[in-house]
């Protein structure tokens, strides 16, 4: 069975948790920019964590379903409707055969992740269903969705509920909608922290930075005080990762996101911690952001706590369903 893309919206692509194992061939992880939001939506829809769903940027997405499916979404402050029913973030909803799901433009934030029971059944490419928009492979023909596209859906379990139906239970609120109002991103020091001037180090954690227009899934370019180094000069390229805050010669930092290149030559002043990538994934031109330094051990503790919370959430969902 399929879902038809009645309206593809501004920029919508098929994404899962990303591609691993091919960095040595220059292939970045990609996948949902907020992988945590994607897996929470998948859990609500009764899918495996890594099932393929949709990443919708700025919404305006309309899908029509051929058969009954459970759908769920997380991310920015969107309004999503199944027919006339409102589907709140972090809740599961049943959509009937022939019904339409509409994701309107967000009030705040920029991206939302929609999971559909059974997942989007596009072929695995290099072990993943994620769309690599730079390499033009994976997902739906290696590209963003267009009006009229037909998405094959995978098999799912029995749905013994009548449409329309919205679950009373939900995902924890901070997971359902990213707390975008407080755009404080926690960072750990980068490999080249010491190469920056004391002023630059202070500016990074005290000043506010504005996201500029030339930002995309590769990275958010930031405008703020110049982050200067003690000595200019070229560095050898080395690995970078989503969350890396690199500083080109202009002194204006770039926060790398999921589609970033695998290696880069700009100095790395800091890295946004993994649990705060969810906030980074909502940034949009004009947004302001600040940074706050934490220790590596704290960043990893926060990650571990979220993993444990997510494991408990999955167990809780199973209890609700049984």
């Amino acid at each position: 069975m399929n879902a038809t893309v009645v309206s593809a919206g501004f920029l919508t692509s098929v994404q899962d948790l990303g591609r691993t194992g091919f960095r040595q061939s220059g292939v970045s992880t990609g996948g949902a920019l907020d992988a945590h939001a994607m897996r929470v939506a998948n859990a609500l829809a009764g899918n495996d964590d890594n099932a393929a769903g949709l990443e919708a940027t700025l919404g305006k997405l309309r899908l029509r379903f051929e058969d009954e499916r459970i759908v769920a979404w997380c991310g920015g402050a969107f309004t999503v409707r199944i027919g006339d029913e409102n589907l709140p973030p972090g809740h599961a909803g049943l959509i009937g055969a022939g019904d339409e799901l509409v994701m309107a433009a967000p009030n705040e934030g920029s991206r939302g992740w929609l999971a559909i029971s059974g997942g989007i059944d596009v072929p695995l490419v290099l072990g993943s269903r994620a769309t690599d928009l730079r390499g033009n492979f994976g997902g739906h023909d290696g590209r963003t969705l267009r009006d009229g596209d037909v998405l094959p859906l995978g098999k799912h379990g029995d749905l013994e509920i009548a449409a329309p139906w919205i679950s009373e239970w939900s995902a924890p609120a901070p997971w359902a909608v990213t707390e975008y109002r407080e755009r404080f991103l926690r960072i750990v020091k980068g490999a080249n922290w010491d190469a920056f001037t004391a002023e630059a180090q202070t500016s990074l954690v005290t000043a506010s930075f504005t996201v500029t227009a030339d930002s995309d899934r590769m990275g958010a370019r930031l405008d703020g005080p110049n982050l200067d180094r003690n000595e200019a000069g070229d560095l050898l390229s080395e690995a970078v990762a989503p969350g890396t805050l690199q500083v080109p010669p202009s002194g204006q930092p770039i926060l790398l996101l999921g589609d970033c290149q695998t290696i880069g030559g700009y100095p790395k002043i800091a890295h946004v911690i993994t649990v705060d990538i969810s906030i980074a994934a909502q940034l949009w031109p004009g947004d302001r952001v600040r940074f706050h330094e934490v220790a590596l051990a704290e960043a990893q503790q926060l990650f571990l706590e979220r993993e444990n919370d997510f494991a408990r959430f999955r167990v809780g969902l199973d209890l609700h369903r049984s």
Partner: protein
């Protein structure tokens, strides 16, 4: 050898402090094989480049960073089975390159910068021997060392918004080949008809770090006939 964090879910092993085109690469390849052989729990994947190997890991599967770092250090001090390095024993891969004007918008600039004729730039570029230092930037993009020093040309002040797939280019002291259409700031001096990245191949990139490469100048006719 130094190990430092690369965010909260990766670390960088600085295998050598001073970069040397051949020696550093061999040391990095060796460290990569040591880490692969160790199969340390929690390790997701590796990414090598020039003088470093990055180790991506799952922070939920390690006890602590210090403990994990110790495991990495141990692996890097474990001797390997006598290896058959891909480089050295294996013959160089020959890459056909057409340097005709329509594929070489920046050949004039490179020639001017080097103080050589365009023909001489092509002759020297196509007769040098190269080695793949790493693959990255875009899927399958090989960074080659071995560019004759006189051909080194600074990156363009304004990057081009679109460089065609197969373009052979010079960026500083390096040369590389764009596997797919992409923006880029390197000086384009030729084009290969080969397909450098194919998701149906295993591995998907035609080149791997350590490979030796030679270039062969071809005509426009041969370019067309080789084009896949």
């Amino acid at each position: 050898m130094r190990i430092e964090p690369l965010g909260d879910s990766a670390l960088l092993v600085r295998v050598v402090e001073e970069f040397h085109p051949e020696k550093s690469l061999d040391a990095v390849l060796r460290a990569t094989r040591q880490l692969e052989a160790a199969a340390i729990p929690g390790v997701i994947e590796l990414a090598s480049a020039y003088s470093t190997v990055a180790v991506f890991y799952d922070p939920a599967r390690i006890i602590s960073f210090e403990e994990f770092k110790t495991q990495i250090e141990y692996a890097l001090h474990t001797s390997l089975e006598p290896a058959r390095p891909r480089a050295g024993a294996v013959p160089a891969i020959e890459v056909p390159v057409c340097y005709e004007n329509e594929f070489a918008p920046d050949l004039g600039d490179v020639a001017q910068h080097a103080g050589l004729s365009e023909d001489e730039v092509v002759r020297r570029h196509s007769s040098a021997r190269y080695r793949v230092n790493c693959v990255g930037f875009t899927p399958g993009f090989p960074y080659l060392t071995g560019l004759p020093a006189e051909l080194a040309t600074p990156r363009r002040a304004t990057p081009r918004t679109e460089i065609p797939a197969g373009s052979v280019a010079i960026g500083g002291a390096q040369t590389g080949i764009y596997p797919s259409k992409s923006p880029g700031g390197w000086n384009v001096i030729g084009r290969t008809p080969l397909r450098l990245f194919d998701v149906k191949q295993e591995p998907p990139a035609m080149f791997q770090a350590g490979d030796r490469i030679t270039l062969r100048q071809i005509s426009r006719e041969e370019f067309d006939s080789l084009r896949q």
